[in-house]
Amino acid sequence: MRRLLCIAGIACALAATPAAARDFYYFHKADVTLEAFQRDRLECERLMGGASRPPQGPAYVPNNNLSVAQNAAVAGIAGMFEGMMRSRERRRTVDAIERTCMADKGYHRYRVSDELAEELWDIDDPEERLARYLAMAAADEPVGERMVE
């Protein structure tokens, strides 16, 4: 339940392009109940958990012209960047699964302002945060701009 409360906050997706800002969004379905929302989220989370990391491979092939220490340093830097890229790829896949799955259950995605997102994140009480989020998710009229799936 605690995990659900955490993920029930405003979802945040890092856009693919470096120039793009972060997108804050939530999923809306008019008149959805708490039970239905929880069920839908858990089902989608199960599918999101199936996203795997790309196969691991050597990030750096040692160069014979460098010393062992230099090779180790370069390999470390290469590994760090490779890890960041892989992590970002997996994040993209997980986000795409979430969007497809929630859309399949009848939810639409709406962008919210940075200010509103910050306001929601600042709510310390998870129950209160969930209630606020659910009020947005199940409202008759959604707030914000509708985003593509």
Binding site: A19, A96, V148, E149
Partner: protein, 253 residues
């Protein structure tokens, strides 16, 4: 010289004969015939790659792949895989389509995914018994673009490449859906190795759902269009408008 040429020809023919013998169907085993059309690339228009389809062994009671999270009790012995990916050893290749004959363990199977997308949100299952040969028909994997999205032309890609620090990649990655149809007159005929046994068109059961075990994106097999149809059917019907009163024009008999 002629003897030498004959010997070389015989040596060349040997592996081919052995390979053909390997492809003879075991009368006790179960097989499916499936034609998979190419997948058009999601990034650049006009670049195709061979499509691939994954079939999984399905537990219809627990509604999951055998051994999956919802069906741990049906896990298979270590040497048996719960799925078969169909993308190698095509028996026939034609323009944009490859035909496969795949041996399956008699069981309930599901079309688990295609070209990296798992159809966890809704797919079809079929049963196959010992000695049966089923025809799964012709399938075409397609990228499930949202309205207004499409693959870029080569020119668009070249223009985009000129933008400094611009990303070449689409912002959103899209899953694949699978168009399925029964084998028709314009399609490849059943392969010769099926021979006298022939192949029975498979009977599919709709509504199979399961976990995401392919590691990539998820979708319904029928894609966004199928989902929209289902959601529209589930919506409460609008109150029907009162029937228009028939008006008779003056002077009409």
């Amino acid at each position: 010289m002629i003897r030498l040429l004959l010997a070389v020809a015989a040596l060349v023919a040997l592996p081919a004969a052995a390979s053909a013998k390997d492809r003879e169907l075991d009368p006790r085993a179960a097989y499916v015939v499936i034609d998979i059309e190419d997948l058009e690339d999601a990034f650049v228009k006009g670049t195709d790659q061979p499509g691939e389809v994954t079939l999984g062994r399905y537990d219809p009671q627990a509604r999951d792949i055998r051994g999956g999270d919802l069906s741990p009790g049906t896990a298979l012995p270590a040497r048996q895989a719960p799925r078969v990916t169909v993308n190698r050893r095509a028996v026939t290749k034609a323009d944009g389509v490859r035909q496969y004959v795949v041996e399956l363990v008699p069981d309930t199977w599901v079309i688990e995914g295609a070209s990296g997308t798992a159809f966890s949100l809704g797919s079809v299952s079929f049963e196959i018994g010992p000695g049966e040969v089923l025809d799964l028909g012709v399938v075409t994997p397609r990228v499930d673009f949202v309205e207004g999205e499409e693959a870029m032309s080569v020119g668009d890609v070249a223009l985009k490449a000129l933008i400094p620090f611009g990303s070449m990649r689409p912002k959103n990655i899209r899953p694949v859906w699978l168009e399925r149809r029964a084998r028709g007159a314009g399609d490849l005929p059943l392969p010769a190795i099926v021979g006298q046994r022939g192949a029975t068109p498979a009977t599919f059961v709709e509504g199979a759902t399961f976990g995401n075990y392919l590691g990539g994106l998820v979708n319904r097999m029928g894609g966004r269009a199928e989902r929209e149809r289902e959601l529209a059917a589930a919506r409460p019907a609008e109150p029907a408008a009162p029937p228009a009163t028939a008006q008779v024009a003056p002077g009409t008999p």
